[in-house]
Structure formats: structure tokens, C-alpha cells
Subunit: 356 residues, 2 copies
């Protein structure tokens, strides 16, 4: 759980280590990359208090390959001695005092969210986070509470994803909105995917956020400074054409079109000429062209608009609903994708300008 | 089947294409990298004869993503038009005449081997092929027939793998032994893994080998020139210590040891001090050390010998027998690994010299 954060690519060698220490009758494991810290506790019989830091990858692989049932750990001269029925190892470590202190956020007011709900929400919005860091405020996931709702939002200015999570209790947090680095969200996803957890508590401080996953895991991260765009104003309030589609068939049609469109910056065109069929067109001068026909139910105007196929596919890859709605308002207005079975998620995508 | 050989990394653009042509009421597909050629035939209703070459990756992905049942292919002006119920595509190609001719080996005398047997044999010997090309004769798999046996051998001079396949009929080939490039063997493995095939016929010519997989696939390859080492003389004829081991437990012990040994060129030491236990030792000055104990049945002398852990693991990864025998004749002699349940495979591994 912790050693994956202990990167061997860091310039500070100590950051490739994890810290093991006794803590009130349990063994505490920690790793940090100075921006994120993870702590976890496991049951142990402690005979004498102690602490050491050892290379994270080595101890993690040694323990996971060790098929014996019980491990004995002895720390001596900054070396960790691990023995079990069939395996013995001495792993050279460094003094625990050199290990960076991982901050602790005051566990006062918090937001509590079911682990599965949070995992799904992160997956649904993280696709829209900006990958470049030119606008730091866009390189993370925006989190804000509104009465008894938690909103998570991400945008790279070409598309925007917003998820609304209803909370059981009215949120009691001191801050209106915070931006959490994408890497922190990926680490949290990894933790939630690796263990069966029930509930996640989110604590906010001035510059930090802490996620407590059940009772044994804590993830602490810095926040991104800056102001998240006032995104609500760009959410379209109506549409000219609404298209209901099977997500799987639409995905398949887009993937086929993108074989051709990948030569032309993923530029594909969506056309409605009759209510029952959506056409996806891709033209790549060097390679050839493609036309896919998808059955749909369309209401409103006939339309023709160009999108980035990859951005449409990103949304389809995280929406679990078998049916989706695509709302279009002409060539120059953003399109909106919604799962047919929920009002809690929306994905806005800017159109591409074409010559025609 | 054929498009994977059509590499986009080739300097000749035509080699990233595959050729489609009508051939006596079927559709013939071909690709080549000039050293290897693959031909396959599929059923088709041919209305007019024709031929075209198109980018292999694009047509392969388009057809595999196309979920419609039936495809219509029309060749016009070197463009391939593919239509089906819901998808249409025009793929720009080049003239079929530019496509390199793939040679055909005279289908006269041949060796016939069950596909599964050949697939297993290739997997068992290809691990020992030399990866660098400084000695070309070692960069392929040596194939020779002896009465009613087919032998396949590979060595990189640090280890050697030999597989013997009993043949149903006495082989009638004109050549005593040939060396087949490792890449050809990997292509054949890929084909055998991708389709359920029964029988492979191997045809040999002066500079070429051809594998006919069932009736629809032909793989043609150049041979490597040069003389394969006279390896029989280095196969040990006896041993000082014979160790019987569970393959899985030995593998696990070696993998744990190699976590430490990877810092010191995979150098591990195997020790027998009592008949019931094998010890695996790894020492890495910077990192620490490790001692694993594996239960075994040993007969003969106590011993201590150093090997490359990765080379031992390579052999264990391809031997399907749950039990193996390890034969050792002191610090300076090669060790031999054999599956306990078969006399048809052996793997020889040179010891490492150590200071002690």
C-alpha cells in the first residue's frame, strides 16, 4: 500500500524508503513523496519499540513473495532483520530520523462518503483534468460542498466533468472549495481499488487534505493554490438536439472512426439527418475515410458538429450507464453527455471548428 | 495473423502494408519483413479477380472492431473500399506489384509434428537463444533430425536447452541441421498460440524453411548461415550430486533470492549440507543479504555452487513438470536441470566463479 509511493526515481534517496515504526501495539508503515504521504497500521506483537526506514520496493517484494505465515522483525544498527520459517533477510536501512515528517490534518469537521461512491466519482471526473501544468488550478480535481451535496469537478478547458454526491449529513467544512492534485486522486483510487473499504472521511485544512480510508489508512496531500474557474456559467441550460444512444454501440462507432481520425487530431463529425440514425464521419487525407452508422433516438433539430473523438471516448469509458444522452446545440456550442439513468453526472465537450 | 509482421517501423513503407489478393476462389493475405513471410487464406465469394496492398495495422484494427457479420471488398484505383451493414471505409493502398515476392519452399520431403508438441518445444528452447548477434549461429534455434527424432537446441554459451521430439515416421530431409532465426520461432509461437491447429509440416530448402500450419497458414523464413557448435560434448554424462525439487518452491526461493542478487549480476549460491534441504544464498553489499531454505531430496556429495538466478528461473518458467532434478558436479562444472517426468528435455547451466 505505501511502497508504491516510495519512488526510486526521486532525487532524494530517502524518499525511495518506507518507514516502519512501532505505534501503540501496532506496526505503522509510512511513505511520502513530499507532496503526498500515506500511513497505514497493521496488527503486530511488539516486544520492544523501534523504528527504521528501508528501501520500499525491496521490502515490499520480499514480503509479498515470502509465502511463510509469520514474520519476525528485528531492528539492529539500522538494519532490518526479517526471519520466517524458510526465509531470512537482512535489509540495510537508514536512520528513521532522516525520514520526512508527514503532516497530520486536524481530524475535526469532515465529509464522510461511501468508499465505492467516492471511487466511482474520482474515475468519472479525473479524465478531464489538465495534463499540462500551465494553469495549475486545472491540474487537479475541484471539491466543494453545497448544503448536503459534495461536488467534484475537473476541466482542461476543452471538456469538463462534474459529479454530484448527495451527503447523508450536511457538510460541516470550513472551506468553500479546494483543488486536489490529480496525483493524489490517482493514489486514492489505487488504495480504494486495492482494498475492500467501507467509508472514507475527508478532512480539510488550510493547505492540506486528508483522506481516512476506514480506520487503518491515512492519505495526506497538499492542496493546489489558485482559483478554480467559475464553471457553472458554461453549463448549457438547454439544447437544440437531444440524442439517446446505447453507450456500447456509440463507443464502438467512435473507436472505428478514430482509426481514421487519429491522423487528423481525432477530429470526427457527428451528423443527425433522420431521428433514428447518427452518422460518425472521419476523413484522413493520407489514409482514407470512414462512415459509421449508429442507431439512436434523436429529438429536435437535424445537426452536424465536429468533436475530438478521444474526448467523447474518455467520457464513455467512465460512464457505467448502458444508455447515454448527448445534447447538442449547433456547430459552435458545447455538447453535453449525461448517463440516462442519473442526474448526478455531466460531461461538457467543446466542439471543433471545421472549414465547411 | 499477418498484419503483426507488417511493421510500421520498417524503413521501407511497403513493408507496413499487407497484400490482399484473390486466389482460386479464396482471399489470400500476405505480409513480410523480407526475412520472414506469412501467407494465409480465408473463404470468400470472389466476383472479380484483383489485388491491392493496404496499411496492415489500419485494416486489421478496422476489421477487428467492425462488429458487422459480412464484409464486401471492392478494389478501385488502388483504394480498398470495405462496406458492411453499419460501417463504410475507404483505405488508400498502393499497387500490388510493388509488394515483395514471398518465396515458396518446394513442398517435397517434410517433418510433420503435432502443433502442441512443437509449440511446447519452441518455448522450452528459445529461452537459451543468444540475444546479441555477435555470434550469428547462436542467435537462432538449431533443428536437426536423427533417425526418427527431431532435436531442437539453443545456447548463448552460458546455458543450453535441448528438446527431443519423437517423430511418427523417420524424417526424410535433405539437410542434417539448420539454424532458424529466433524471430521466426517467435512468429511461429504467436501463430500457434492464436489459433487451434493440429499439425505443423516443416519443409527445408537450401537457405529457407517453411512451416505449414494446418492447411491455411504458411510461414517462410530465411535460415541463419554458419555452423552450430558441436554441443553434444558438453552435456555432462554423470553428476556428483542429484537434487530433486518441487519446481514451484524452488522458483519461489530463487525469486526471493534474486531480489537481493539483482544488485550483483543475479549471482546466487546453492548449498547442500544435509540431504533434506537446499539453501539459496544471495549477498548484495549495498542492500543486504538473504537465505532461503527449500525442502528437497539430495543424493551424493554435499555441494556449494554459484549460478545466475535468472538463468535458473528461465528454465523453471518453461518446464511444465511439477518436479525437477538438478544435477551438480562441483563448483566448476555445469549444472543440469531436467523435468522429473521426461527424458526429452535438458537445460545445462554454467556455474559462476566466486572468490570463496
Amino acid at each position: 500500500m505505501v511502497s508504491r509511493l516510495a519512488s526510486t526515481r526521486s532525487t532524494l534517496p530517502i524518499l525511495s524508503h518506507i518507514q516502519l515504526s512501532t505505534d501503540r501495539g501496532r506496526l505503522k508503515l509510512q511513505a511520502t513523496d513530499l507532496e503526498i504521504g500515506i500511513k497505514t497500521w497493521i496488527g503486530a506483537k511488539v516486544e520492544k519499540e523501534g523504528s527504521v526506514t528501508v528501501p520500499g520496493r525491496l521490502i515490499s517484494e520480499f514480503v509479498s513473495m515470502n509465502t511463510d505465515k509469520k514474520l519476525n522483525l528485528i531492528i539492529k544498527d539500522q538494519t532490518l532483520n526479517i526471519t520466517s520459517e524458510r526465509f531470512q533477510a537482512n535489509i540495510k536501512g537508514t536512520s528513521s530520523e532522516e525520514f520526512p515528517l508527514i503532516p497530520q490534518v486536524k481530524e475535526e469537521s469532515f465529509i464522510s462518503v461511501p468508499a465505492k461512491t467516492l471511487e466511482e466519482a474520482i474515475r468519472e471526473v479525473i479524465i478531464a483534468v489538465a495534463l499540462d501544468e500551465t494553469r495549475p488550478a486545472l491540474s487537479g480535481v475541484y471539491l466543494k460542498t453545497e448544503d448536503s451535496k459534495l461536488k467534484m469537478v475537473a476541466t482542461d478547458s476543452y471538456r469538463l466533468a462534474e459529479k454530484t454526491i448527495p451527503l447523508e449529513n450536511k457538510a460541516a467544512t470550513q472551506k468553500a472549495g479546494v483543488i486536489i492534485p490529480a496525483k493524489t486522486m490517482h493514489e486514492l483510487l489505487r488504495i480504494l481499488g486495492a482494498i475492500a473499504s467501507e467509508q472514507v472521511k475527508i478532512y480539510l485544512a488550510q493547505n492540506q487534505v486528508q483522506f481516512n480510508v476506514d480506520k487503518n489508512i491515512e492519505l495526506v496531500s497538499r492542496l493546489i493554490e489558485g482559483t478554480f474557474p467559475n464553471y457553472e456559467q458554461i453549463i448549457p441550460t438547454n439544447y437544440q438536439t437531444k440524442i439517446s444512444l446505447e453507450a456500447e454501440e456509440f463507443t464502438n462507432g467512435l473507436k472505428v472512426a478514430n482509426l481514421f481520425a487519429r491522423e487528423s487530431a481525432n477530429n470526427i463529425k457527428i451528423e443527425i439527418k433522420t431521428p433514428g440514425s447518427l452518422f460518425i464521419k472521419a476523413v484522413a487525407g493520407q489514409v482514407g475515410d470512414n462512415l459509421s452508422q449508429i442507431s439512436c433516438q434523436a429529438e429536435g433539430n437535424n445537426t452536424s458538429v465536429a468533436f475530438n473523438a478521444k474526448f467523447l471516448l474518455d467520457a464513455l469509458s467512465v460512464i457505467s450507464s448502458p444508455k447515454i444522452d448527448l445534447e447538442i446545440s449547433g456547430k459552435l456550442s458545447p455538447g453535453v453527455i449525461r448517463p440516462a439513468d442519473s442526474k448526478n453526472y455531466l460531461y461538457i465537450i467543446m466542439p471543433l471548428r471545421t472549414e465547411e
